[in-house]
């Protein structure tokens, strides 16, 4: 069974969203677009899925939102990372690096013992 190229690893979507927002306040479409662009098209997401997650981040106080005008003079809801959101992002990145490192070490070890 081959994995769909665009499928996100479980548990990473929230982290990616926090990261995207840490680069600057953005509206929903912008967040989705940012993730896709920064991943070089690897992380292809169902764009609508950003909205429930944004709502969850709001509820946890990791982001705040306000209505602003876009450069095209349209009204849009901009989401901005809070200090606690930043701490959460740091924690998740640390967790991610630890996991990746661990998984990676296992993968290497497997080839030596095999």
């Amino acid at each position: 069974m081959t994995r769909d190229s665009g499928e996100l690893l479980p548990g990473t979507f929230e982290m990616l969203m926090l990261k995207a927002l840490s680069l600057g306040a953005m509206h929903g479409w912008g967040v989705a677009e940012r993730i896709e662009r920064l991943s070089g098209g690897v992380c292809e997401i169902q764009q609508g899925a950003v909205y429930p997650v944004l709502q969850r981040l709001l509820r946890r106080g990791w982001v705040v939102a306000d209505w602003r005008s876009t450069e095209n003079n349209r009204r849009a809801r901009y989401y901005r990372l809070t200090a606690s959101g930043q701490r959460q992002l740091d924690a998740e990145i640390a967790w991610w690096r630890r996991s990746i490192g661990g998984v990676d070490r296992v993968l290497r070890a497997a080839s030596q013992e095999g």
């Binding site: 609508g48 899925a49 809801r77």
Partner: protein, 870 residues
């Protein structure tokens, strides 16, 4: 401060749900626009750019739902949406909705009615000011028996006790004939007259509807005759006019000075009140007064008790056995008024609770079944991102909606049914004439509805939400139903168990009532018509003439006269003594007292055990004679022949009577055998001993009720000034079993409802099994099973379900009927026949409930059912 943001977000969500929704809509629209533009910029054909944007976005509806689910609790807006969802889903299955409402209305309605009765009779304070300070005081004999007070004892309590603001008394009422003025007819009417002591009504805290209370002067023995009347008497008999009119009784004219408030009743029903000092008793052993004390502000019941005990002891020390009261019992007035009915009302309320439980169980199983039927829908929605919490909430809202509607309908119906209960119950249970549905009852309905909604809503919702999605998605329709229906079967078995408890209870009460009505009273009550006539001051010859006239009415076989009805023991009981017994104390025996004509014993087939009954020769001037019941003989002359001995009763103070006969005890079920000694004397020898009241006793071979009209017509001709109360002895016995009849009616109605609901429950489970197993049944029929085979198997399953319930219910009945113990008469609460019959009735209901859906199997076409399966 992340929690500040979080909190603000929540509050904003809570308050601005609609605005929030519009905001999300705008965000999504904007999003799609931006994505469409990007697709075009990337070289996509503008015609399909929008569709591609949508494809990348996903279903906006699902996104909205999923986002909303992330928002946490939404009281206002989300609630509205759930409500709409629930309404839609209820409308989609009108059959279920109607059945659920029917079930709920029955259950909640029964509980509401039972509560309003319980509340009115037991819980609400009496309709007096500061009724909690009113206490009822009785004499307590050395043998711990409770008796009403005598006048001298009451007077001592009133004058010497400090625990009370006031102590007042009322005499047991007696019948008298009076002609009211002011009304449309001034014909004499028979009324119940009650004597009351000074400031009786103001002590109770009664607010008069009109006029005033008696003045202290009017309470003097030689004061002019004044009376107060009940509101009902004033309205129906005196036209409700002001100024208040008069009542005439012979040459006496009584001015009406006051009118009591509507529904006033003090223990014994009466119409007219007069100052009792006009005829106050002087004998310390004549127990004719109901005494009420109003506790002084801040005085506790215990200290009042202690003082009354001390006071009684000192009175006993002074007067010795003449008072018979060594101690006094002090208890809240309300307790005294309703004490007899406490257990019975608790039983009725318990029965209603069982009905409600059954209704809840029915609804729980129906919701479960609906849940299973919708499981795929639910699982698919969950897969699309609807959170389980949201699903639970929606199912809960549906239950709350159902229960709310059911409770509302039940409350309205209960308010209407209260009139019926009041009409049926007013004569059977005290205070039921006050029955209303008020705020407290509606509050009760609210609480019941809440608990019901919790019971009905939470379990199915949680169970459904916990359901294994994978299982459901993989499974073909309904193959999981073995697990599911096992829960359901359990619930239905539980319903049947509850119904059996109610059936057993009502069957026991039906037998009790039957036993009371057919109990051996020692006399023959069949075909006996009694006409009670007030004829104060009439010559005895006139009364005898009246009897003879009635004796000649067609259908009348024989007739007799007495001063009181058989079984009307009332309070007329006095010491009897032998020659040489001291007058004032050391009474050996007590006895009721009856004045009768010689035909009395033969007409009532009252057996004469020794000696003779009365004869025409026992007339004035002849030796004074008496007939006694065996109890007196045993007490006064144990082991000796009482015939020819002499006896006296306080009712005929210094007259010595020769015992000429002993008659069997005439026993009423309500009185334990052996306790009602009677002494009978001939009317001809004591024409003035009757207190102006006579009962003509007529015996007929036919239906006694057919005699009512001719007797009434003849009496109106012969004695227009003496209105009569006509009844049959059997009816009077039935009336004396009134409270049991009320409990029996309630339990029977509730039992029938319970049985219906249980049958509906069985119908539901069998219907579900049949419809969800159409495929399996089709396969089996294709393999050669007949519809009959399948039906027998299904009915067998129903019988197994019912049998379990019946067994559990019978065991429950053994425990539950303990509360009926005191109410039962002539039947054991463990009577095996009752349990067997109750079980069979429940089984029959189960079979009927199962048979209707089971028949559907015969319409199953194997080929079609095989093809319908996905």
């Amino acid at each position: 401060m992340s929690w500040v943001h979080a909190f603000r977000e929540r509050v904003t969500n809570l308050l601005t749900g609609r605005a929030w929704d519009r905001g999300l809509e705008e965000e999504i629209a904007h999003h799609l626009e931006l994505e469409t533009n990007r697709q075009i910029a990337a070289g996509c054909d503008p015609a399909v750019a929008r569709a591609r944007a949508l494809a990348r976005f996903g279903n906006p509806r699902e996104v909205t739902d999923a986002t909303r689910d992330e928002r946490g609790p939404q009281l206002l807006e989300g609630g509205m949406q759930d409500l709409q969802w629930a309404l839609r889903s209820l409308r989609k299955s009108p059959g279920f909705t109607a059945l659920a409402l029917f079930t709920l209305v029955l259950g909640i309605g029964a509980a509401t009615l039972a509560f309003s009765v319980l509340d009115t009779v037991l819980l609400r304070p009496l309709a007096y000011d500061h009724a909690e300070r009113l206490v009822f005081i009785q004499e307590k004999t050395p043998k711990r028996a409770l008796r009403p007070a005598s006048y001298p004892n009451f007077a001592d309590w009133r004058d010497k006790a400090h625990a009370f603001d006031r102590v007042v008394a009322a005499q047991f009422p007696f019948g008298i004939t009076m002609s009211p003025s002011g009304g449309s007819d001034t014909d004499p009417v028979r009324i119940e007259l009650m004597g009351v002591s000074r400031r009786f009504f103001s002590t109770l805290g009664v607010r008069l509807a009109a006029g005033r209370e008696f003045t202290d002067d009017e309470h003097k023995a030689d004061a002019p005759f004044v009376v107060m009347v009940t509101y009902e008497f004033w309205q129906t008999r005196m036209g409700g006019h002001l100024p208040l009119g008069v009542l005439r009784s012979g040459d006496d004219v009584a001015q009406v000075v006051g009118v009591l408030p509507p529904n006033f009743q003090f223990i014994a029903p009466s119409d007219v009140f007069h100052p009792l000092e006009r005829g106050a008793g002087t004998v310390r052993s004549a127990h004719n007064y109901m005494v009420v004390g109003r506790l002084a502000q801040g005085t506790r019941l215990e200290s009042a008790r202690a003082e009354m005990t001390a006071l009684s002891k000192s009175l006993f020390a002074t007067y010795g056995n003449a008072t018979e009261a060594e101690d006094a019992e002090v208890r809240p007035l309300r307790d005294y008024v309703v004490a007899r009915y406490r257990t019975m009302l608790a039983v009725v309320f318990g029965a209603a609770t069982l009905v409600l439980l059954i209704a809840c169980t029915n609804l729980i199983s129906a919701q479960l079944a609906r849940g299973w039927a919708r499981e795929r829908e639910v699982v698919i929605r969950a897969a699309l991102g609807a959170s389980r919490g949201r699903l639970i909430r929606q199912l809960l809202v549906e239950s709350v909606l159902l229960v709310g509607a059911g409770a509302a309908i039940a409350a309205v119906l209960a308010a209407a049914a209260v009139r019926v209960v009041r009409a049926i119950g007013a004569g059977l249970v005290p205070r039921l004439n006050e029955l209303t549905v008020d705020g407290r009852v509606f509050g009760f309905v609210g609480i019941v509805a809440l608990v019901t909604a919790m019971l009905v809503g939470v379990y199915p919702a949680v169970r459904l939400a916990r359901g294994d999605a994978g299982l459901v998605l993989r499974s073909t329709r309904g193959s999981a139903n073995t697990v599911q229906t096992s829960v359901w079967r359990l619930l239905v078995g539980f319903e049947i168990a509850l119904a059996v408890v109610l059936l057993v209870g009502s069957a026991l009460l039906i037998q009790t009532l039957h036993n009371i009505l057919t109990a051996d009273t020692g006399i023959s009550t069949h075909g006996v018509v009694t006409a009670t006539i007030s004829a104060r001051g009439e010559a005895i010859g006139r009364i005898e003439q009246l009897r003879d006239e009635l004796r000649h009415l067609p259908g009348v076989e024989s007739a007799a006269l007495a001063d009181r009805l058989p079984f009307a023991w009332g309070n007329r009981s006095a010491p009897v003594r032998r020659p040489g017994d001291p007058v004032d104390h050391d009474w050996v025996a007590f006895a009721g007292f009856r004045v009768v004509t010689p035909e009395y014993f033969p007409v009532l087939r009252h057996p004469v055990l020794r000696g003779r009954g009365f004869a025409e020769s026992d007339r004035a001037g002849a030796p004074l004679v008496a007939v006694i019941s065996p109890g007196i003989a045993e007490k006064l002359w144990p082991g000796l022949d009482p015939i020819g001995r002499t006896i006296a009763t306080n009712y005929l103070f210094d007259k010595w009577l020769t015992v000429v006969g002993v008659v069997a005890e005439a026993s009423n079920w309500s009185m334990p055998r052996g306790s009602q000694n009677e002494i009978y004397v001939p009317l001809a020898q004591h024409p003035t001993a009757t207190e102006g009241q006579f009962v003509v006793i007529l015996k007929t071979a036919g239906d006694p009720h057919t005699l009512f009209a001719p007797v009434r017509a003849r009496l109106r001709e012969l004695a227009p000034n003496s209105p009569a109360q006509i009844s049959t002895l059997d009816d009077r016995i039935a009336r004396s079993a009134a409270d049991r009849r009320f409990a029996m009616l309630a339990l029977t109605v509730f039992g029938a409802i319970a049985l219906t609901l249980a049958a509906v429950g069985i119908y539901g489970v069998i219907w579900y099994i049949v419809t969800t197993r159409t495929h399996e049944i089709g396969v089996r029929m294709a393999l050669g099973a007949t519809a009959g085979n399948v039906q027998r198997e299904i009915l067998g399953g129903a019988v197994a379900m019912a049998a379990g319930g019946i067994l559990v219910g019978s065991i429950g009945g053994v425990f539950a009927t303990r509360y009926l113990q005191a109410t039962l008469y002539g039947v054991s609460r463990l009577d095996p026949t009752t349990y067997i019959v109750g079980g069979l009735v429940a089984l029959l209901a189960a079979l009927i409930g199962a048979f209707v859906p089971a028949r559907r199997t015969s319409r199953i076409d194997p080929m079609i059912s095989l093809r319908t399966e996905a």
